[in-house]
Symmetry: C2
Subunit: 223 residues, 2 copies
């Protein structure tokens, strides 16, 4: 029986999770991570359907059969990759939203966290955006729902911040949810721009704050 399966092992792992991992378990997790890392390189470069298990095997220096000791199939491998990475990000972003002194501070903290986290993980961002935005054609089902839920949660918390700001008369009375969407849209636009051409138009949290919050027209020509 392969390591890491079966009821007994699950119980053992549960127990160990609270104390410390056995060498076996550490190695198992290490190998798992190596596979995911190799898979990330390939998937982010060529997309789910243009990567073969052979390639992942070669890149990670395991045999094809070994991959199936860690993941039930290609789809599960992909899901694990996207979901586990996302689970690192989402709490960071959510936490950041609670860190400001006032509502503007919260938005700013969120922005900074967002930019930092994404800049540090550009390879993953390609995958994440492919799943979050655009067409999510990569897998059958299961990934969508889970990611969608987390994404909605962030949008919801973000619009709560806007809502509070509006109630406090800090912000103009726009639809808070659309404000959240708009902010996200600007961030993504800049991230894309940056991915396309990292040297081109540098941007940071300051710039996004100014663009988003300050008025752009000087004279009032709105009808």
């Amino acid at each position: 029986m392969p390591f890491g399966c079966g009821l007994f092992t699950i119980l053992v792992r549960k127990r160990l999770a609270l104390k410390k991992l056995s060498r076996k378990e550490r190695e198992f997790q290490m190998h798992r991570r190596e596979i995911l890392e190799a898979a990330l390189d390939l998937f982010s470069e060529k997309g789910f359907h243009n990567v073969t298990m052979q390639e992942i095997a070669k890149e990670s220096e395991f045999a094809v059969g070994t991959l199936y000791k860690f993941f039930a199939n290609k789809e599960e491998l992909y899901k694990a990759l996207v979901l586990e990475k996302s689970k690192e990000f989402h709490p960071t972003l959510l936490k950041a939203l609670g860190k400001g002194k006032d509502e503007i501070g919260c938005i700013r903290a969120y922005l900074e966290a967002h930019i930092r986290v994404f800049m540090d993980n550009l390879k993953f961002v390609r995958l994440y955006l492919a799943e979050t935005r655009g067409a999510r054609f990569n897998i059958g089902a299961g990934l969508d729902e889970e990611l969608e839920k987390k994404h909605k949660e962030i949008l919801s918390k973000l619009s709560d911040v806007f809502k509070r700001g509006i109630r406090k008369k800090l912000f103009e009375n726009f639809d808070p949810y659309l404000l959240a969407r708009a902010l996200e849209g600007i961030i993504h636009a800049f991230l894309f721009q940056h991915v396309d051409d990292p040297e081109g138009h540098p941007f940071d949290a300051d710039l996004v704050m100014k663009l988003f919050f300050e008025r752009i027209v000087k004279i009032d020509t709105q009808k």
Copy 2:
């Protein structure tokens, strides 16, 4: 030899393009369009890799072999679909950019055209955004370059408008290219929101204009 190939036919088609098409030619184009229409339904629903030629054949009510009379292979079919649709949109958007009285008017006209065109073609928008944003994993090469060029052209013209507005002291002095990106980001964010939940948060050109151009904060708490 299938209809529509060969030097002679090309010359004939060229001549006819100026006058009118033969019945044969009209039928050929009609069938071609029907295939593309069926393919659009399927691709926009399931993505390039999850649609088979069999399915396209069934949906379009042609035989598999017939599809290959119109398109060299699956990839060419997909390319034709995306490129031809894009070629309808891009000129509309570009033209709209020249239609305003002043720079704000141009942006407004662009926005209205953008929203209208996209709303009328939601099925295609899914594909377009999958190719334009996010990961463009669908095909080898060839589509990317052409679409990218057209997309850059619009961004460039859009930032020219911002540049003129800044020079005229109509707009604050932001990087015009980033303004263009930001506007596009907001539009896309709202479009996505709309695709996800058409009843939820309605938006129109007015709203985007206000969100983009008007300041959002009431009191000045910027650092």
